[in-house]
């Protein structure tokens, strides 16, 4: 009797471990900003469950995470602040006041500098990640939105919504080196792993501009209604774009430039990130208060995870732990 019980116990442990262990044996967590209830939902992605809900400032939008720093930075646009979360304890350890309207946010790959787009003040702030001091700022254009930094941390790209271009900024001097004209109202920006390709999601003309960052040659893809953000898969062969007013995600093959699938997701999909640990794409649904999870191998909707009110998650929101 006892033997049988132990055997069953061992078997169930074996199977449950197998079922839950992610592909690469690493854990990943999503930090989702919920505009409507002023919180961040922390999701254990392999478990598809919210493990903590953290109170932050008013109307959180943007998010940037760093595994090296063990930090998640959250922009609270109406609260005019940035919440700094310690990702080991999932507690807010600092709130920086920003006299403006912080929206877009990203961390340079060297983890030294945090860049924040101040929507109504037309500027980008460069903040030191060790002491949280503002070390510089640059005026870009009306309504700066999405941000991306090159792998070598030397170049910052800013989507300048109202001037329909991307500002290319030298991070050492904070000088604008170039402006790249794109489609109407660029919002989300994504860079390829090697930083050779930049993707700008253009809200008002329903397109994505693909830009070669060496030659600045461009190609334009058509997507769904009012697209916001994009994410790339593991080998950067596919791009996933949230179409906020179609409630879908476009999946586009970057070799053929063809849309291979349009996936129904939760209402008003906004932020989107690639989860390398589980080979899936996570999409924040503002309208349905959830994360829609897409299997990147099959390009099908896998599961839905309830979050807080009006999830946005504008930025790279997934933290992967080794």
């Amino acid at each position: 009797m006892m033997h049988k019980f132990i055997l069953v116990a061992i078997f169930s442990l074996f199977f449950s471990l197998n079922a839950c262990t992610p592909i690469k044996n690493v854990s990943s967590y999503a930090y989702i900003t919920n505009q409507g209830d002023n919180t961040v939902s922390v999701i254990d992605i392999a478990q598809s469950s919210v493990i903590k809900t953290i109170a932050v400032g008013k109307a959180p939008v943007g998010v940037a995470v760093s595994r090296t720093l063990n930090r998640a930075f959250i922009t609270n646009v109406e609260g005019q602040s940035i919440s700094v979360i310690d990702t080991n304890t999932n507690l807010v350890i600092e709130t920086m006041t920003i006299k403006g309207s912080p929206v877009g946010i990203t961390i340079a790959p060297d983890d030294k500098t945090l860049y924040v787009a101040d929507w109504y003040s037309d500027r980008i702030l460069a903040i030191n990640t060790s002491d949280f001091n503002v070390q510089g700022e640059v005026i870009v254009a009306t309504a700066p939105a999405g941000l991306a930094v090159s792998t070598d941390s030397k170049t910052l790209y800013v989507a300048a919504r109202d001037t329909n271009d991307i500002a290319v900024i030298d991070t050492a001097s904070l000088i604008i080196r170039k402006r790249i004209q794109v489609g109407k109202h660029p919002f989300g920006l994504t860079l390829s792993l090697d930083s050779k390709m930049l993707y700008s999601v253009n809200v008002y003309d329903n397109t994505v501009s693909i830009i070669n960052t060496d030659t600045f040659k461009q190609h334009t893809l058509t997507v769904g209604e009012h697209p916001y953000c994009a994410a790339l898969n593991a080998n950067n062969s596919m791009i996933y774009v949230t179409n906020t007013q179609d409630d879908t995600v476009s999946v586009i093959d970057l070799i053929t430039h063809k849309t291979i699938k349009t996936i129904d997701v939760g209402m008003t999909p906004e932020g989107i990130s690639f989860d390398a640990a589980n080979n899936q794409i996570l999409v924040a649904s503002w309208g349905d208060n959830e994360i829609s999870v897409i299997d990147a191998a099959t390009n099908t909707l896998k599961t839905r995870i309830k979050t807080g009110d009006k999830s946005r998650a504008f930025g790279q929101f997934i933290l992967t732990e080794q």
């Binding site: 505009q35 409507g36 109406e78 005019q80 309207s101 929206v103 109504y120 309504a143 503002w286 009006k310």
Partner: protein, 175 residues
């Protein structure tokens, strides 16, 4: 209803669809109507006939520009006009999508979806009306009264609540 009309009267700001703020608002309202879904959908999708069910609208004018369809809503009590564009009217999903182009509504970048579904009971239909929009003020705080999130939200909520209640009345009293 009175509150809604007061809000309408307050709404004298010019509307600019080209730019909006960073914090979208949402109003979502649902009503169950004792009428067949096909009958409810026929009323919902009749884009040029909103005055037949919405109590705040005096008249409407339908306009076709090429393949695009627009309507001008004239509000009661000299409330002014709202100019709207039809995006899609999907018979299969019984889903109507439209946006505000310009007008007196104290909102920016407003788009809306009305959906009809069958049920919950036999011979009943459920109408869901969802709007996404922004406040009209487009600068850093302080935000002036009348151009804030609350004003925009209450306006849309008033439109939806009074509209759905009267749509139910209209559909349930007609045979």
């Amino acid at each position: 209803m009175k509150k809604f009309l007061t809000l309408l009267a307050l709404a004298t700001l010019s509307f600019n669809a080209a730019a909006h703020g960073p914090t979208p608002q949402k109003v979502e309202k649902t009503i169950v109507i004792k009428a067949a879904p096909a009958k409810t959908w026929a009323l919902v999708k009749d884009f040029g006939n909103m005055q037949s069910w919405h109590p705040a609208i005096a008249s409407s004018k339908l306009e076709k520009k090429g393949t695009e369809v627009f309507r001008t809503l004239t509000l009661k009590n000299n409330g002014g006009e709202i100019y709207e564009k039809l995006r899609t009217a999907d018979d299969k999903d019984m889903k109507l999508k439209y946006e505000i182009v310009s007008g007196v509504a104290p909102v920016a970048d407003y788009n809306s979806t009305m959906t009809v579904t069958a049920g919950p009971g036999a011979g009943e239909s459920t109408v869901t009306w969802v709007g996404r929009f922004y406040r009209t003020y487009k600068l850093n705080p302080p935000i002036p009264a009348g151009q804030d999130d609350e004003t925009a939200y209450k306006f849309v909520e008033g439109v939806y609540d009074s509209g759905l209640a009267n749509m139910k009345k209209v559909l349930e009293s007609s045979k």
